[in-house]
């Protein structure tokens, strides 16, 4: 047993902290929130140069072949930095699908480009049904000669507006059980019949509606075997949940530190407000929640790396981290008082992201439901 980070993990975390502190002031984050593209291509290049785009990609495709734990270290700092842009879409969602399901040819073509930062992916899974279940996928893909014709509406699609490829989840068999009829397609977002409309959310995280109207996708762009995509998606969604948790614990730590620092400085009634019992107890609770959220995330990431089946661990972790992040940011604003409610202060970035992140890849009720299922309840 060794519960400390490895030297490599610690180094990665530290260098990411330094990088973002230097390269990504929160002012820039706020500007990018209302920017059409939504991220800095210059920063993206620098991140790619540091090898981060290829962090988890196998060496044979020019990546560093690290695991979930290392990815967690990086995402932790990205969460703290409120990094905008398609890192999560490309590296956490897109690349693992390619790695797990794509043909050798597709891998060789795509993965090195991802690793070098030259290819941006977006996952087009969710739809107006607003669930992560296979039954929620109503977009259809009908084979016709040498291509598939896709029809449907994809909703809440992060980074579709800037992706080189959409990985589109569609039903190829409508008569089967939902989880048996799902296929994946590599779709050029410039294909005729595709309309991408931005959706503004509380997190200013550049979601989109992707409308597919008779979109022709070459048969060669099928990823994996027809109808067999769901097991891959299931695994990627588990990784995505923990990856999202990693961003969230970064946000928790920032929030606790920032609120505590403010409570030490801000004087009212002749004392720093952090000397008052009620504020101390708020912060103690936040510190505990943030700490536990971190330990849970580390453990789940380790389970994923070990290949241990961990539906339960992922679900307990997402529950815990959702609630911790929401609570820490809400109480953080309360401690900061008026200033915490302004656009000028940075805590709003975290508060707003917490509301969104808690819904992604398993909200609390869905996650608790999974826990109950795992308990055979």
């Amino acid at each position: 047993m060794d519960l400390e980070l490895t030297e490599e993990q610690q180094l990665l975390k530290n260098s990411a902290r330094d990088f973002f502190e230097k390269e990504l002031p929160k002012e820039t984050v706020k500007e990018l929130e209302v920017d059409e593209l939504g991220y800095s291509t210059e920063l993206w290049k620098k991140m790619a140069e540091l090898g981060w785009c290829g962090l988890t990609i196998p060496e044979q495709y020019e990546g560093a072949e690290f695991g979930m734990q290392e990815l967690v270290m990086l995402l932790d700092e990205m969460g703290r930095a409120c990094l905008p842009g398609p890192f999560f879409s490309t590296i956490v969602l897109g690349a693992p699908i390619i790695m797990a399901a794509a043909s050798e040819e597709q891998k060789s073509e795509l993965l090195p480009k991802v690793a070098s930062g030259d290819l941006i992916l977006a996952l087009a899974l969710t739809e107006p049904s607003a669930t992560y279940d296979p039954a929620g996928v109503n977009t259809s893909a009908i084979f016709d000669k040498d291509s598939y014709v896709l029809n449907g509406t994809k909703l809440f699609i992060h980074d579709a507006h800037c992706a080189d490829y959409l990985i589109c989840v569609a039903k190829t068999k409508v008569w089967s059980k939902p989880e048996e009829g799902i296929s994946l397609f590599l779709v050029d977002p410039k294909s005729p019949g595709i309309t991408i409309t931005p959706l503004e959310s509380i997190a200013d995280d550049h979601q989109n509606e992707v409308s597919l109207e008779n979109v022709k996708v070459p048969a060669a762009n099928l990823i994996g075997k027809e109808g067999q995509a769901w097991p891959v998606m299931k695994r990627v969604l588990q990784e995505a949940a923990i990856a999202k948790c990693a961003e969230m614990i970064g946000g928790c730590d920032w929030t606790v530190e920032t609120s505590a620092a403010y409570a030490k400085e801000r004087v009212q009634y002749g004392h720093p407000i952090g000397a008052y019992g009620s504020i101390q107890h708020y912060l103690a609770d936040m510190w505990i929640e943030a700490g536990m959220a971190r330990r849970m995330t580390y453990y789940a990431a380790w389970c994923l790396d070990q290949g241990i089946p961990c539906t339960m661990e992922v679900a307990t972790t997402k529950t815990c981290v959702n609630e911790a992040y929401k609570h820490c940011t809400r109480m953080g604003v309360q401690i900061l008082g008026g200033i915490g409610t302004t656009h000028d202060h940075d805590i709003g970035l975290f508060y707003r992201r917490s509301r969104q992140a808690a819904l992604l890849f398993g909200d609390t009720e869905d996650s608790l439901n999974k826990v109950a299922e795992e308990m055979s309840l």
């Binding site: 997190a203 009634y269 008082g337 008026g338 656009h343 969104q356």
Partner: protein, 396 residues
């Protein structure tokens, strides 16, 4: 005990309801109600102004005031009925600032100031913005340092105020400033009314978390205010301020607004399906809606009790504090729960066709954060209850 309204109250309530039902129909397309939204854009502000004008014509801005100043000499119960009706219909016909200033004037103002200001206020002519808090005087308001120095028939004011909601739309300010620099506490403060167009006032936009322009900072640089604009005595401004916090504080209006929001949310849950089942049939959604309904009902019964009490004793403290604390925390809870129930749709902003219920809860789950801080934070309200209601000792 009798929980029935009197015949007169029932008639008045019916009049309110009928009126506000019509007023609501005139609301701008993107109008979602609430106190702050009126300041956000011109369309909303125009709607607000027209609602205030119409309510003023009815004589409803001054229900509890003495008749000689344009009032109807009604109790806080009627005031609460008015607030309930207006807020249920999301009609911005309640001006918090007007209530604050008028309460201060009625309690401590000279006949002269009453005669000058109250009739105009009852006609809805004056939009006040509040200049109380300062960057270093928030919860500890009495430590404020903006100075007012006597100079002939005027006072000259210098300093900075913050959280001045709606200053960019208002035509007047009410200002608490230190007139006795030798004391640093509640003594030595004076309460001024002032035209916002006087020289020496600079207003700087201070955006809310969601980028809405509601707050402002206000800077005074040799602002000259005539002595006749002082409410109450010089150096007695703290008590005017406290009286000003002492209008109808049952939260009845806010609760009615919540009831309306809940109706929308319940309707949404009945109409919207997830996994082939109406959301309202999801056991957890069902339970959360029921729980919030219980909380709203608690707040509602409490509001009646507070209005009743305040009619007898306008200086009751703990009960209104409890109402403020409970209702604002419930608002935070309601808006966050609504976002969660709505799932991925919950966080979408008004504007897209996919944003449901006009994106109201996305907006509210940011806007409500200010409610548990402004006007005495939740912590301050609990302190008041502990000190006043329970007689617990105060740590010095």
């Amino acid at each position: 005990m009798d929980f029935n309204l009197t015949t007169e109250q029932k008639a008045l309530k019916a009049e309110f309801d009928e009126f506000f039902k019509e007023e609501e129909k005139r609301a701008p397309e993107n109008w979602i109600g609430g106190f702050e939204t009126r300041f956000e854009n011109d369309e909303n502000w125009e709607y607000y102004r027209s609602c205030i004008d119409n309510a003023a014509k009815k004589g409803w801005l001054s229900l509890p005031w003495p008749k000689q100043y344009g009032g109807r000499e009604l109790s806080y119960i009627e005031q609460a009925l008015f607030a309930q009706s207006a807020e249920y219909h999301r009609v911005p016909a309640i001006d918090v600032h007007l209530s604050i200033v008028s309460a201060g004037i009625l309690a401590f103002g000279s006949d002269e100031i009453k005669n000058e200001w109250l009739p105009r206020m009852s006609k809805g002519e004056i939009d006040f913005a509040q200049c109380w808090s300062e960057p270093n005087a928030g919860s500890d308001l009495a430590s404020l340092t903006t100075k007012a120095v006597e100079d002939g028939d005027d006072y000259i004011i210098n300093g900075q105020k913050i959280w001045t909601t709606g200053a960019h739309r208002a035509n007047h300010l009410f200002i608490v400033a230190r007139t006795n620099p030798d004391v640093k506490n509640t003594k030595g403060l004076t309460y001024f009314l002032c035209d916002i167009n006087l020289p020496g006032i600079e207003i700087r936009r201070l955006d809310y978390m969601n980028r809405a322009h509601v707050y402002n900072e206000v800077f005074f640089d040799d602002l000259r205010v005539p002595k006749k604009n002082i409410v109450g005595d010089v150096n007695n401004g703290w008590y005017v301020t406290m009286a000003g916090a002492n209008f109808e504080r049952s939260g009845a209006g806010g609760i009615a607004a919540m009831q309306r929001d809940m109706e929308d949310l319940v309707q949404f849950c009945k109409e919207h399906t997830r996994n082939g089942q109406a959301l309202s049939k999801d056991p957890m959604v069902r339970r959360k809606l029921a729980q919030i309904t219980v909380e709203i009902e608690k707040a509602r019964q409490w509001a009646y009790w507070v209005s009743w009490q305040q009619s007898a004793d306008p200086w009751a403290f703990s009960e209104p504090s409890a109402a403020k604390y409970f209702m604002t925390e419930l608002l935070v809870h309601l808006s966050n729960t609504a976002v969660e129930i709505m799932g991925l749709y919950g966080t979408l902003k008004q504007g897209s066709k996919w944003a449901l219920l006009k994106g109201k809860f996305e907006s509210m789950c940011q806007a409500t954060l200010g409610f548990t801080i402004a006007g005495g934070s939740s912590e301050t309200q609990k302190n008041i209850i502990a000190w006043m209601g329970l007689g617990l000792p105060r740590m010095k």
